[in-house]
Subunit: 117 residues, 2 copies
DNA sequence: CAAATACTCAAGCGTCTGCTTGAGTGTATG
DNA sequence: CATACACTCAAGCAGACGCTTGAGTATTTG
């Protein structure tokens, strides 16, 4: 028989190995993308970030703007805080969240621009 | 009884209703974000897109650059094709993928800039 | 100090999704 | 025409993830 039905698909670089060799380091340098991109990934989280890029907001307001429960908003805000994308300050009973890094703004704007293309 | 342990958390806009009323329509106008952001979301898919923004590549090359099997690369490329982010051309046995929309490039660049901040 | 409020936390659920696997398609080659 | 190759497809699985729920914390208020 010797019927190799399914070889490992393609083990070597098929076409220009030069291009591959050139791009591979660049792309793997993007390694840390993970946390950041993953956070942008989610619909709700992107909306939260975009809202915060427009104005500092408390959890309830974020929930109202985005259209989820406060618990859900809190869940996402905590996630974003843990990955350093947002920061907060406490004022009495209220907790106000804001973008942690101004560098985020152009990214959000670039995406919004693309979306309204 | 009568112990309301867990009311729906916060049913009304707690703070500035004006801000909320202002932002809500803007944010829900982002509604269609879904497909696009979700596609950017994934680590692998972002790398694929970034690689394609640098050069047209066949599936095997994408796989080699990004570091996944050809089947996995094909899976992501098909996904990206179905949402209109990439396009392809066939040349003999090889299938070359490329960005479908130049408007994507600034978005990818904005993210990369942020990442190398 | 007790009650109310704004939020956080941890556990759990249902769902989604990235990747594998094995088969199938289209193209080139001997 | 048979074989090899590059890629696609569909099914399936394991792990991840969004959101809910109910309890817990910090702060204000009567």
């Amino acid at each position: 028989m010797g019927k190799q039905t399914n070889p490992p698909v393609c083990e070597i670089e098929c076409v220009h190995a030069d291009k591959v060799d050139e791009l591979r380091p660049v792309v793997s340098a993007l390694g840390g993308v993970g946390e950041f991109v993953t956070n942008l990934a989610d619909d709700t989280r992107f909306k939260v970030l975009y809202a915060l890029s427009q104005s500092e907001l408390c959890v309830c307001d974020v929930a109202a703007v985005v259209g989820v429960t406060s618990a859900a908003a809190s869940y996402h805000l905590r996630l974003l805080y843990r990955t350093g994308l947002v920061d907060y300050r406490r004022d009495g009973r209220l907790v106000y969240y804001r973008l942690a890094d101004e560098a985020l703004r152009p990214v959000l704007e670039a995406i919004r621009t693309y979306l309204s293309r």
